[in-house]
Amino acid sequence: MIRLALAVMMTLQAPGAKFSAPPLTMSAGDIERVKLWIEAMVDHRPGETDASLETVRLWSNDDLRTLWINASVLLARMHEEQGKSFSFSIAGVHIGNSKTNVYTVESDGKTREIHYTADQSRQMRSLACAIAGNVHCVGVPTPGPRAAELQELLRIADRVHESGDQNFVLRRGAMLHADIATGALMPAPATASAAFPAPRQMRLQMFDGLETDRHEVAIHWILGRLLLDAVTPAGKKSPAAGADGFVRAWYRATAAWMQKGEDFDTVHVARAVTLFPNDPDLLFLAGCEHEAFASPAIAAAVAVAVPPKDFGFDIGSPRAELDFAEAYFRRALKSQPSMMEARLHLGHVLLEQRRFNDAALMLRDAAQDDGARQYYRWLFLGTAEEGIARYDAAAQAYRRASALQPGTQAPLMALSELAWRRHDIAAVSRELQRLAALSPDPLTRSDPWWTYHTSAGHDADQLLDAVRDRLREPEAAR
């Protein structure tokens, strides 16, 4: 397998607009979209490309950004209806406390008001009641223009109520957005309006160390995170996403997916470790992300890419990224000392830092249970041993790697380089003969080393399936 492309998300670091503009108002279509969104979240069958997914997937980015504003207000009102109050802060934009029909978007010291009409405010209250599962406050569907809408909202409120999970919509919504973001059909919507007070993200795509494309991306990950930030775990009285097992599983699965596809979103992983600062799996994935950022394939492209105004990568120099990676791997190991995969990756980081003795100590005690990871371990250990002039041990490690993956290039390069260092010309020749015997067609060759940075996401699909399965379980199991 070879790499096809990889991508790094650029995140809005400061809003482009100074929000001194007139108050923002919502159209009837904007509020209708909130209702459609709620229906889609409730009706979406996790993992399937169904009508609900298609509806939301085809919305433009400005539609989604407007939705983000309304969703933030909606979630605040949902908790108001539950007798709670809190505010959101995400991606540089802040939704403050509500007055009657007026909400405030706040960012970078600037504010912009959002005005709802009295009718829209009533609609938003009904929508909030529905996702809170509060059938009593949705409204009475008396004959009239809103009767059908209220009937539908009562259906949703009933379903939430019957689920026994006050976070029913939030969890399903996060999964809906994850299903869209991880799906092959995800569109690349047109550039969003810079003056609009809502988050934006851009994706920088690269191949072979060069930028190949950049485009605005639909903010599905941001919406997913927004929903989960509002999760109130069983036994808690206010949102506490960091105490919720489903939220943890969602972040773990989605971060693993990003690693597997090299489709990196620094904000996503940073949010995960902020919510779960001692979770070994998430700390490990955060370490892997930074380890990948230090790799030439990403560092070379990022070094020359000029982000658009107000956007940034949140990626430091390779040296800084290796330091971050080391810190995360050490935290993961502190939480779970038996985590052999973290030892493997930490060993590789130490090699990159040319701390060969430390790497050797780490890798000698990093037995792996998977073929590719065993291969990495022996390759890395060989380099560590070579770095401290234990050449026999190095050769033995490289040979073990080669035996595990006989058709691969990396161990042959390593063995021939080691032989040259030791003036063993016959061995140089022998290893290069083996190299010469590999297929002349690069596209038929395979070496796990070429996709090392995706390896930490090896269980992403199973993890995503497991998260989807949880949505079919009763609350008690969550």
């Binding site: 160390g209 070379a300 390069m413 040259w420 260092r421 016959a426 003969q433």
Partner: protein, 282 residues
């Protein structure tokens, strides 16, 4: 080079898939390829007496100086990653053919291509048509394992006693090599192969190729456009053919470690380009 006890004709032969492996013993001599010019023009007719070689500051007795008459081994090491396609690939094929066209009787050539995969596309042999055919078949696809490719080409150069010139072309940065630049630069310091490299100008400096050519006594060309590749490849072989091969047996210096070399010519106006040193021992 010091400490090395054998040369092999084995690799090229092995790649040709047959002949008997042979090993030749070798005197522990140091060979230095030196380009001697006056205002950019090669100076001809120099003898051992014209050269002064300091090994770690210790004057050495130059035993042998050869010019032109020694056959060349030219190892083309060419980037065939995804970015090399269309016109660029055509230019690269033309450049390879241009270099091969300059070969003379007794010269040998080989082709190593690299994308993510390093491919020994044509073994070292006197049959340039094999390299030409392999060039015609090569296609650009995949990522760039420049460092691995350079090492493989260098080792092919080391596999034969002839004077080895490695011509490296890459239009990008390394993204997937297993070997690291420091490891291969170390290998270059132990090697007699002279590396000339050609890269395409970008906003990123080709630091590895710059260091590699400097350590091996070669030269780095940074081209604006690949249309100039053919003339550049031809110029490289021409220049290399006009270098002197200076040889001496080190005396009065430590056996292992880095040996700083200073090669001078006792003639006013002469400029000498040679590798700055060599690494002995492991």
């Amino acid at each position: 080079m010091i400490g090395r006890t054998a040369l092999v004709g084995i690799l090229g032969a092995a790649l040709a898939a047959a002949p008997q492996t042979t090993f030749k013993s070798r005197v522990e001599a140091v060979r230095v390829d030196a380009l001697v010019t006056d205002h950019g023009q090669p100076i001809r007719g120099l003898t051992a007496a014209d050269f002064e070689v300091l090994d770690n500051g210790v004057a050495q007795t130059v035993e042998l100086v050869s010019f032109e008459q020694i056959p060349l081994n030219v190892i083309l090491t060419l980037d065939m990653s995804d970015s090399v396609a269309g016109d660029r690939l055509d230019h690269l094929r033309d450049a390879g053919r241009s270099a091969l066209a300059t070969l003379e009787k007794g010269d040998q050539s080989a082709l190593v291509t690299f994308s993510h995969a390093v491919t020994l596309a044509a073994p070292l042999s006197g049959d340039a048509s094999a390299v030409r055919d392999a060039l015609a078949r090569a296609e650009g696809a995949g990522e760039t394992a420049l460092v691995d490719g350079v090492f493989a080409g260098m080792m092919i150069g080391e596999s034969d006693a002839g004077r080895a010139l490695q011509i490296v072309f890459s239009d990008g940065l390394d993204t997937v090599s297993w070997l690291t630049p420091p490891a291969v630069l170390d290998a270059a310091k132990r090697s007699d192969v002279v590396v000339y490299a050609v890269s395409v100008k970008t906003s990123v400096k080709p630091e590895f190729l710059r260091d590699l050519t400097q350590f091996s006594g070669g030269r780095l060309y940074e081209l604006e456009k690949t249309a100039d590749l053919a003339s550049t490849f031809k110029a490289i072989v021409d220049e290399f053919r006009h270098r002197y091969l200076v040889s001496y047996t080190p005396r009065g210096v430590a056996k292992d470690g880095w040996h700083r070399l200073d090669v001078r010519v006792k003639r006013s106006g002469a400029t000498v380009k040679a590798r700055p040193g060599y690494l002995a021992g492991s």
